[in-house]
């Protein structure tokens, strides 16, 4: 069974509004890192929201087609059931942080699953250690820098141990050392069989992917191996590379 199946996916935020996603069809297998590239406004973040079930459950709009996550239809499955399967780190980390401290934020999801407190503690410790944010553990989430917020948001998602991880421009706000650390974490997660979707504008950051999806104005215009990132002519044609 494929980790992600997208069948004839179309989406508009409002009835009669601009069509953001246009008849997308693709699958993702377990253990793949897939980079989604495209200009601003090409539908990358909207696709992420569809993968997590936020579309159609929270944002409504006009969706047709189907998104299957580990065989479950996101439109028919409650978002609470999808959350442990797909973890999304949003482009704007402010939208997903709400707890008073970093530790509370990371513990929130496993607490909601009513896991035993010992297990919650163990998960929180392991994730804080993995992401390298021990020094932020008792900080107020409002006082964090943009890059730190992304790390905390990522940790709070990883604590549910989702089989599919979706990162919407997370690497862009990280300094070089932290970016390297996060890249290593992603490679380790792939070794553990996780499926990872990364949306990036930085072509360098996308090189850890083994597959590239290229969106243009809501259409999937290219679906190929990571070697696409070496095709300068193709990237320039789609304005993803400018001399």
């Amino acid at each position: 069974m494929s980790a992600v199946v997208v069948n004839n996916l179309n989406y508009r935020y409002q009835k009669g509004g601009k069509q953001i996603l246009k008849d997308l069809n693709f699958t993702m297998e377990q253990g793949q890192i897939v980079a989604v590239l495209g200009l601003s406004g090409s539908g990358k973040s909207t696709l992420c929201l569809c993968l997590g079930g936020i579309i159609p459950h929270y944002l409504g709009g006009q969706m047709s087609g189907q998104v299957l996550i580990n065989g479950q239809d996101t439109a028919k499955c409650k978002i609470a059931r999808l959350a442990p399967e797909v973890g999304i780190v949003f482009q704007d980390a402010d939208t997903q942080l709400f707890s008073p401290t970093v530790e509370d934020e990371i513990a929130f999801a496993p607490e909601n699953l009513c896991l035993p407190s010992e297990q919650i503690r163990h998960r929180v410790d392991a994730v804080i250690d993995m992401v390298g944010i021990n020094h932020l553990r008792y900080e107020n989430t409002n006082n964090l820098s943009g890059g730190q917020k992304h790390l905390v948001a990522m940790a709070s998602v990883l604590t549910l141990d989702p089989s599919i991880l979706v990162l919407d421009e997370v690497l862009a706000q990280l300094d070089a050392a932290v970016k390297k650390n996060v890249t290593e974490i992603l490679l380790e997660l792939r070794r553990r069989g996780k499926t990872i979707v990364i949306v990036e504008h930085e072509l360098e950051a996308a090189t850890i992917a083994n597959r590239v999806l290229l969106l243009e104005d809501g259409l999937l215009v290219n679906d190929g191996p990571a070697s696409l990132l070496q095709d300068k002519e193709l990237l320039a044609r789609h304005k993803l590379l400018v001399n």
């Binding site: 406004g41 973040s45 943009g146 890059g147 421009e169 706000q173 300094d175 930085e202």
Partner: protein, 220 residues
């Protein structure tokens, strides 16, 4: 006289350890100055001090020779434009066009001048097709372009940008870079915070690095 000067500026958030320690530097309203450094080191805090949103724990900041502690945010804002790291924090109008015209109307420009400037800026930032769209429904890159356009249209003498390339694709980064060059050519200055080394190396004329609460010039 420097356009802006930071003199022995230190800062700590209440009840927390000192984040910035004895920062001294001056900038002129010319060239592109980039500030870089690790996450959480205080870059955004420093930029907020520069525009009066935060007040130094010790030290002074002057703007055209005047201590900004004696200036209102509106007075500072007429000289220094600020684009937040998260553009959503500064978008609040019902349409993209109104977002760009808001500041101009506050300056009490004649309405025909306001509309002319909006019309000139919409295509430059490739926002023309979104003129009547609700800003908070734009993509992240579009929001950032709009936030920059709304500040830039006011023609501040110094433009402070916090992570301006985040959310921008390569093509829009190129447009932004060229736009910054135009700003500099019109005898104004740019101060930008960025982790984007390629962008910094391509466009910045001066690079400052913030580490462990202290500032140093690249190459010094």
């Amino acid at each position: 006289m420097a356009f802006m000067e930071l003199l022995q500026v230190s800062f700590s958030y209440r009840g927390q350890k000192q984040l910035l320690n004895d920062i001294n530097f001056s900038i002129h309203n010319e060239g592109i100055t980039a500030l870089t450094g690790p996450n959480g080191i205080g870059k955004t805090t420093l930029s907020k001090l520069m525009v009066g949103m935060l007040v130094p724990t010790t030290g002074h900041i002057t703007l055209k020779g005047q201590d900004i502690s004696g200036m209102t945010l509106a007075q500072i804002g007429r000289l220094v434009g600020y684009v937040f790291q998260n553009p959503e924090k500064q978008l609040f109008c019902p349409t993209v066009s109104e977002e760009i015209s808001f500041g101009l109307q506050n300056l009490e420009l004649p309405e025909h001048d306001v509309q002319r400037l909006v019309k000139e800026n919409l295509p430059y930032f490739e926002l023309e097709h979104l003129a009547q769209s609700f800003p908070l429904q734009l993509s992240e890159g579009e929001k950032r372009r709009l936030a920059i356009a709304a500040v830039l249209v006011l023609e501040p003498e110094l433009l402070v940008l916090d992570e301006p390339t985040t959310g921008l694709d390569a093509y829009r980064k190129h447009l932004l870079g060229e736009c910054l060059k135009k700003i500099v050519a019109s005898e104004r200055g740019v101060f930008m915070i960025s982790h984007d080394n390629n962008f910094i190396n391509r466009y910045a004329s001066r690079i400052l690095i913030l580490e462990n609460g202290r500032l140093k010039e690249h190459g010094c």
